[in-house]
Amino acid sequence: VATTHAPHTGAAEPQDDAAHRVTQQAIRTTLPLALSVAPFGAALGVTMAEAQVPAVPGLSVTAVLYAGSAQLATLAALLGGGSVLGAVVLGVVVNARLLLYSAALGDRFRRGQPRWFRWVGPTTIIDQTVLLARGATGLGPAAFRRLWLVSGAVLGAVWVAAVALGARLIAVLPATEAFRVAAPAVLVALVMGSLADRRHRRAALVASAVCLIVAPLPGGLGTLLAIGAGVWSAGPGPEVGS
């Protein structure tokens, strides 16, 4: 379609078409993922209401933090009577895996990208968007930037709306405990979608096995150790071009 119209309207038209296609692809890929994390968002909203976090600032910090598990861990620690410092440390440790994600995706935010994107783009790095980025191979810098920003905006909008809904419906939501299986269920779906490679299967298996042993370590440290063991067990990947 793009090449059919190009001779009549100039060179900008195919670029617009390509950008439009990337936007559509981003929405199509992200929307089901965003809707699937909505129940977890609602559960988080319930917890925020329980912790008496004011609505507007609470939703603002939800959008900026952009990480449900760390937010839930921090709030749960405070609700359990923990100190502010302890709750912050817990949330930071839960999110320490973002450092690893940053290492894995750093090149996508640097190579061929404008300077602002290095600082703004990674704001939406999270488990789900890491997988979206992994699936976005073959895109040039501009197309990746558009895909990433649209995906992050869609995921963030649905996420914040779900948290707001949960906070509003705290009195009528049934079986909130059931909503707490939503987040790990999304992760299960992500795991199942990332096991095509034998090294990745080994990484997932070893990480799970190690986590069974070390998960009780305080502050999410066990999870970090398990991730490290899983990644290490995968061994070096194939050489580029081999």
Binding site: P54, L78, P184, M192, A203, L212, G230, P236
Partner: protein, 100 residues
């Protein structure tokens, strides 16, 4: 104010983690022993997070959670999507809870 302060601090630290290798340090400076393995990070992280959730579940709900995760895995394998596995997990959790 206290929860907001705590969440703000976590948000600031999380942002620093996120921009470390795009804003401050080039990933090329990572030792090859690490960078060669980073493609396996996502499956390892997802698997560990699921296991940590199951281990951290109160014992009375652990079996139900494991079965719900298994249902999510089967549906994810069959459909390849995200929404249906979540619905399957919630339905399984609620259904098993009602049977007890």
């Amino acid at each position: 104010v206290t929860p907001l302060f705590a969440l703000g601090a976590v948000a600031a630290m999380s942002w620093l983690f996120r921009v470390t290798f795009s804003g401050f340090v080039s990933p090329e400076h990572l030792p090859s022993a690490i960078s060669d393995r980073l493609d396996a990070l996502a499956p390892a992280a997802f698997a560990a997070l699921v296991t940590a959730h199951v281990v951290g579940t109160p014992s009375h709900a652990r079996v139900t959670t494991v079965v719900a995760m298994a249902a999510a895995a089967v549906v994810a394998r069959l459909t390849g999507g995200y929404a249906l596995p979540v619905l399957a997990a919630i339905a399984t959790f609620v259904g098993l809870g009602a049977l007890r």
